[in-house]
């Protein structure tokens, strides 16, 4: 490889910013055929893991676009769900589709913003459309990944659901809400 090409290669590699041919020439010497060297290098690097590219008259090396995914690596860290998150997940699973206000009514405790986010990040809960009632609250439901994680064919497999129903603990939430101060719950929601 000619020395002028090697010099341009080294200068561009070490540069902190993209460089114009003039700036490169200031390093490698005016005599060097910088443009020719740039052309030769761009050819050398075509199809490699690193490419020499020109952007607005400035040259720089960059990793090939199709390999960008290699520069990110995901590392999984096992973490246990908080109690609030487990309860919320259980409520969504048993009552889906269910709005945030309804979840809070069932839990008897408000849920923090992060709780549903965590369940969605885990891939177990998804938004399931808006309910066509005043305020059009967003509802949530479980995902296939939820069933897979907990080893369930479908939601009907949730052990104990029949027992809980027989004990009168699983009345449809809408009915239950209709019979008790629904207005109050909704006003809480508005304040959110």
């Amino acid at each position: 490889m000619p020395d002028s090409v090697r010099a341009v290669e080294a200068v561009l590699f070490a540069a902190a910013e993209p460089m114009t041919p003039e700036e490169i020439a200031a390093h490698v010497g005016e005599g060097a055929a910088v443009e020719t060297a740039l052309g030769a290098l761009a050819g050398d690097y075509a199809g490699r893991g690193v490419n020499l590219v020109e952007r607005g008259g400035r040259w720089h090396f960059q990793t090939a676009g199709d390999l960008a995914h290699l520069l990110r690596r995901e590392r999984e860290e096992p973490r246990r769900l908080s109690r609030a998150a487990v309860e919320t997940l259980a409520i969504v699973a048993y009552h889906e589709p269910v709005s945030r206000a309804e979840i809070e009514a069932i839990r008897g405790v408000q849920i923090s913003k992060g709780t549903l986010d965590v369940l969605m990040e885990a891939g177990w809960v998804r938004p399931a459309g808006r309910r066509e009632v005043p305020g059009r609250p967003l509802t949530y439901a479980t995902t296939p990944a939820f069933l897979a994680h907990f080893g369930l064919e479908n939601r009907r497999d949730l052990p104990g659901i029949d027992d809980l129903k027989a004990a009168g603990l699983l009345d449809p939430i809408d009915a239950a809400l209709a019979e008790m101060g629904q207005g109050e719950l909704e006003s809480e929601d508005e304040g959110d």
Partner: protein, 256 residues
């Protein structure tokens, strides 16, 4: 200041040096061994071939000069001077065959120490003279960087889920205890029913016969209780008569 250079000047004009100059020189040594090494180099031979005796003389003369000029001399230089004076006397005196280690061995060890220090000094210089990363050779100026994205792998067991749901329901059950759904016969209902049915029966009739036909044991009990209270109420109003032959016996009813 490079001690080797200053030493050359010092060697050339031993009588003419000034006090401040010597002070400067003393400050330039990194301890007695460094001074010894510089003196040894002035013999201009391989370190393995230096004359230890001559070196000792050089060192003692240097210290004596410094003393003459009333310079402060650090204790370790004086300790070395004392040890070298002892070594010199051992080397010059008739051989004491009992001495262990022998003076020659002590001299060799001193020589080895000088070689070792000299070797490390040269090695340091060679290291510093290499193509150094960030000075002579360069890593990529603007690396894109590699990112590790930490992703939480959330864990929960099915049991946790069920238990949590049970806990939620247990906690909030009172708020959702819906009485309306229970199969009951209200007192009003019973009053109407008993009154209406009595209109057609003038004979003593058992209270149970007023109850609706049902498979629901709960509803039957409710109907019985309500009908009993309805009967008492109707008796109070004088609309019916009640009769019971014995405690817990059948309750008989007829229109008054």
């Amino acid at each position: 200041m490079d001690p080797a250079e200053s030493l050359d000047e010092f060697e050339e004009q031993p009588q003419l040096r000034e006090a401040d100059r010597l002070t400067l020189d003393l400050d330039g040594w990194e301890g007695p061994l460094d001074l010894l090494l510089t003196l040894a180099r002035s013999q201009k031979v391989d370190l393995t071939k230096i004359s230890i005796l001559a070196l000792v003389e050089q060192y003692l003369a240097f210290i004596a000069d410094a003393k003459k000029l009333k310079l402060e001399i650090a204790a370790d230089y004086l300790v070395m001077a004392a040890w070298l004076a002892y070594l010199k006397s051992c080397l010059l005196l008739p051989r004491d065959t009992e001495a262990d280690p022998s003076p020659e061995e002590l001299a060799m060890r001193l020589q080895l120490r000088l070689q070792r220090l000299s070797a490390m000094r040269e090695a340091g210089a060679r290291l510093m003279g290499r193509d150094r990363l960030g000075r002579d050779v360069f890593a990529r100026g603007a690396p894109e960087g590699l990112k590790v994205i930490r992703q939480s792998l959330w864990q929960a067991e099915l049991y946790d889920l069920i238990a949590a749901y049970g806990a939620v329901r247990a906690r909030t059950e009172p708020a959702f205890h819906i009485v309306a759904r229970r199969p009951v016969m209200t007192l009003d209902e019973a009053l109407h029913r008993v009154e209406r049915m009595l209109g057609t029966r003038l004979e003593w009739t058992r209270l149970e016969s007023f109850l609706p036909a049902t498979e629901d044991e709960e509803f039957r009990k409710s109907a019985l209780a309500s009908s009993f209270v309805a009967a008492l109420e109707l008796a109070r109003l004088g609309r019916i008569e009640l009769d019971q032959k014995a405690p817990f016996g059948p309750l008989w009813v007829r229109a008054a």
